[in-house]
Amino acid sequence: MAKVWWRRRDAGATKPCSPQRSSPNHIACSIRKHSPLTKAGLRNNFVDMSVLSLKVNGKTHTLDLDPTTPLLYVLSDDLGLRAPKFGCGLGQCGACTVLVKGQAVRSCITSVETVQGLDIVTLEGLGSVDKPHPIQKAFIEEQAAQCGFCLNGVILTAKAFLDMHPKATEKEIQEGMSRVLCRCFTHTRMLRAIGRAQKEMAR
């Protein structure tokens, strides 16, 4: 553990929540409350850098970093993954979604320390261009994207929802997707793709 001149680890903060206990569909593992970002606090506190172990797409990574860093930054910057994306940093749009133990979690508001050791899957880990997961295949077949920036959150949120509710009705699926944004408004095709995936995954 390296000692650095920075913000103190918030020893008394909320216990890391388990994604298992969060709502089935949208996450929200929240997340250790950050210590207040007062200027004095920043200047005068020390923080422990932590050696953390992250299991992403079946591979374990050992990283030395500020444990309050949001998972998104670690995935995209330290691990160089492209799928989880910064959309709002507020857990409002879904672009940063990853699966943690099968649950859709918003990685922009999930501190990395709360998910260490847990199974994390990103969109790249779900399937590949050569071997796409049935839900990815459904999106390709329905041509369900325009710019595609939101696809990460759309597909992973739908995947977690369908795993939990394989027999969901169209209306329920729509409700299950109610906290995901697509600003190109490819809604019609996306919902059709999720319906197609549902049938495929039921086989």
Partner: protein, 799 residues
């Protein structure tokens, strides 16, 4: 990690091409040499560029196209054939998520008679691609799919290949055919030569010939087909490289700190407030621009939050509650007359009935789902940026001004960003990254916060629109008068105005000056680019009728005034706002004439393509022919149902669309549900029917979101719509209506725009349907439940 200095190809290129490019670095010439492809080198020598610059002290380009972009009139600027038979096409029209790359690849494959898979497309890179201005305004389809530019170059090249084949095979060209990348004898397919054989060692060295014969649509085998997008698999598996994913060796991370209020000036910055934090590199200040650089992105985020900055007090913003009155009364103004038959007042005085109405449209934002991001590498006198900008050449010219570099030393590489729908934060964040990179001499990546993306962008402008028309005793329109007020500030940076976007302004550049003008001069040339002219007038300017309608007495007058917020093009800029007013007002006139809204429109339209889209839509929707509003007896208690129609000749002649909306309103709450949308589009010859359908569907729903919920809000000093709780976009889970798209294929017509056509008619179609259902006319966007409830409650027969 992928080396980002590889070329800006949207799709994987052949290995030989890719290897050669890697070897060649930035040089297209070297790429060509390495692959054996034939291409003219267009780089201008430094001395010549300097000489030209010296002749033009006003600016490197004097507002025109830069002298060293690949000339659009040369075939070699557009296509190159490699020794492995692969075709590389260079385009200045980007993929913004609308399938334009796929359609352009189809075009190249079709015209050059090569398999689709063999086409590689290089998109917008100032070291390689021609300057086609910006990718915007539904201009890509008309620009590249008619007789010039990419289509013209491909057709010219095919004819040249036939000639080369004729010489090589000693067979007359008319007995040859181009198939599958080969020139073959029609009678003996064994006699053939591949394109690669024919061009090796030579370049085309030909002017693009607009008369070169295009393949007729009836013979198309690739173009016009619903081909899937080659980028779809990479997007769906998370491997596609967006601007946000660009990583460069030694790259640092920047954040910006925007002013505390609109119009505030910087008083002081205390570097010490963050200089002790881990990963700190530098605080960068340039006039009112503040940014900082850190080793890691999360460090930069925290430093931006912690940086101590003091700003001067700023003047109060006009009150939002009375903003539309403020617009009407503000000075100075710039007045423009689009049409003026000079007899409008007289005709209105003689009309049996005169109707007036005022419509209001708020500022709205692009609101990209991913906040804008760019990477810049400025070292010494050279700069390379990876940017989601819509105009790489504009970026290059204005970055050179911002960084005080020579334009030819700046390379701008387009990388797709989050869908932009116009001038979002792409240009401004590229300036952010470039200023920070220059200050630290290392590559810097910047992605804006959600708040900075939304509070500091070039919004789609607010509008107040007065409509006035007269009906004769038979219920025909005899005169139409349109007048609008709209605030503007900044715009696209074009070649000379970095100050047109936020960062350029903060760093000390002025936006393009507002030029007051009142009264407006009489119109001398016709343009309905803004759709300020209603579709139903004759549009008589310069001795000829240019409009889509029959009404001879016409006037359209616009007033621009200075905005407090930055403004710029947002999908269907001005066209959407004006069409909302025109098409709702047309419905008001039909209701006053007690005419069916479809019949009433057809009665006042002359353009056959407009007539066709209206008829096709009404037919597909099984239109209920009768005047609006709907007789109340037919509705269930508490629920009102209705249908509305709207249509547009986009920009006057750049695509045609009509829409029928079927809606229901819960009268007690004002809750609106759109049940069904039928939309027709005529965009000329259809290049990819599935892509066009996707554009229409997306346009419909984005239009709904803008009509029903989206509005920029502010308090005394700041924009307050700064995230997805305060700016209301319809999420994926809303009650999506059934959408039916009717595509009208026009292989005999020129290709027109398609990306902004369907969105233009949404608000008016829904507004007209609300009127049909409830008898209440909502003249203000967004149609919130409160507004609908209030309007419906005011009616004598409500509830």
């Amino acid at each position: 990690m992928k080396n980002p200095s590889l070329p800006a190809a949207e799709f994987p290129m052949t290995q030989s091409a890719s290897d050669a490019l890697a070897r060649a670095g930035f040089s297209r010439r070297a790429f060509i040499k390495g692959t054996g492809a034939l291409i003219v080198s267009f780089s201008m020598s430094g001395a010549l560029a300097e000489a030209l610059e010296a002749q033009n002290p006003a600016g490197p380009f004097g507002g025109g196209a830069p002298p060293d972009s690949p000339p659009a009139g040369e075939v070699d600027s557009w296509i190159a054939i490699a020794s492995d038979g692969g075709v590389t096409a260079y385009t200045g029209k980007e993929e913004l998520g609308q399938g334009m790359s796929t359609a352009q690849m189809q075009l190249v494959a079709e015209e050059l008679c090569v398999p689709f898979q063999r086409v590689n497309l290089v998109v917008c890179d100032t070291s390689m691609t021609p300057d086609q201005g910006v990718t915007s305004g539904s201009q890509s389809h008309p620009a590249n799919f008619n007789h010039n530019n990419l289509a013209g170059a491909c057709a010219t090249a095919r004819e040249a290949l036939l000639q080369l084949g004729s010489k090589r095979l000693n067979i007359p060209a008319d007995q040859l055919v181009a198939i599958d990348g080969e020139i073959r004898s029609k009678s003996d397919p064994a006699k053939k030569a591949t394109y690669a054989d024919l061009v090796t060692g030579k370049k085309f060295d030909l002017k693009v010939d607009p008369a070169a014969k295009r393949k007729p649509a009836s013979k198309w085998t690739v173009l016009g087909k619903p081909l899937g997008r080659p980028d779809m698999a990479a997007m769906a598996t998370g491997t596609f490289e967006y601007a946000h994913n660009v990583r460069v060796p030694s790259m640092l991370h920047g954040m910006v700190v925007r002013p505390s209020a609109v119009g505030a000036d910087l008083m002081s910055v205390d570097d010490n407030s963050v200089s002790g934090m881990p990963g700190f590199v530098k605080v960068v200040v340039k006039k009112n621009f503040i940014g900082l650089v850190a080793e890691k992105p999360w460090q930069a985020v925290q430093m931006a939050r912690a940086l101590t900055v003091t700003w001067s007090p700023a003047p109060e913003l006009p009150k939002q509650e009375t903003f539309y009155d403020h617009l009407r009364n503000q000075k100075p103004v710039r007045d423009t007359l689009l049409v003026n038959s000079k007899d409008v007042d007289e005709k209105l005085a003689g009309a049996a009935t005169v109707i007036k109405a005022t419509y209001y449209h708020p500022y709205q934002m692009h609101g990209s789902v991913g906040s804008s991001c760019a990477v810049a590498d400025v070292q010494g006198d050279k700069a390379t940026v990876w940017s989601p900008t819509q105009g790489v050449w504009h970026q290059r010219a204005t970055l050179a001004m911002l960084l005080n570099l020579k334009a030819e030393n700046v390379r701008v590489i387009f990388r797709r960003g989050s869908g932009c729908y116009g001038l979002n934060g792409a240009d401004t964040v590229t300036y952010d990254a470039a200023l920070l990179s220059q200050a630290v001499g290392k590559p810097v990546r910047v992605q804006l916060t959600r708040r900075d993306e939304m509070a500091w962008e070039n919004y789609g402008s607010a509008f107040v629109m007065d409509e006035r028309a007269g009906l004769d005793a038979q219920g025909n329109i005899v005169a139409w008068d349109h007048e609008s007020w709209s605030p503007v500030l900044g715009n696209r940076p074009i070649y000379t105005y970095p100050g047109n976007v936020i960062t350029g302004f903060l760093a000390g550049f002025q936006p393009e000056a507002f030029q007051p003008r009142s009264p407006a001069p009489e119109p001398t040339s016709y343009s309905n680019n803004s759709n300020g002219i209603p579709s139903y007038v004759v549009g008589h300017v310069g001795g000829a009728d240019h409009g889509a309608g029959t009404i001879k007495s016409e006037r359209a007058l616009t007033h621009n005034l200075i905005s407090h917020f930055w403004t710029g093009p947002l999908r269907s800029p001005q066209r959407l706002q004006n069409t909302f007013a025109h098409e709702c007002f047309m419905d008001e006139l039909a209701a006053r004439a007690k005419a069916d809204p479809v019949e009433f429109r057809l009665r006042h339209l002359s353009d056959p393509r407009m007539v066709d889209v209206v008829k096709a839509t009404a037919k597909a929707a099984n239109w209920d022919t009768r005047p609006s509003p709907k007789p109340r007896a037919n509705s269930a208690p508490g629920i009102a149902r209705g249908r509305g129609i709207s249509c547009v000749a986009y920009e006057g002649d750049n695509g045609f669309s009509a829409m029928v909306a079927e809606i229901q309103v819960e009268l007690a709450t004002g809750k609106l549900t759109v049940k069904r949308i039928v939309v027709s589009i005529d965009a000329g010859p259809i290049s990819n029917p599935d892509g066009l359908r996707n554009q229409c569907e997306g346009g419909v729903l984005q239009g709904m979101s803008r009509a029903l919920g989206e509005e920029v809000t502010w308090d005394d000093h700041n924009v307050t719509s700064i995230d997805w709780r305060t700016y209301h976009s319809l999420p994926l889970g809303f009650d999506v209506p059934k959408i039916e798209v009717v595509l009208l294929n026009r292989p005999d017509q020129a290709a027109t725009g398609a990306g902004e056509t369907s969105i233009t008619v949404v608000a008016s179609a829904i507004g007209n349907a609300i009127f049909d259902a409830t008898g209440a006319r909502i003249r203000q966007v967004p149609f919130t439940p409160e507004r609908i409830k209030a309007a419906a409650t005011d009616l004598p027969f409500a509830l």
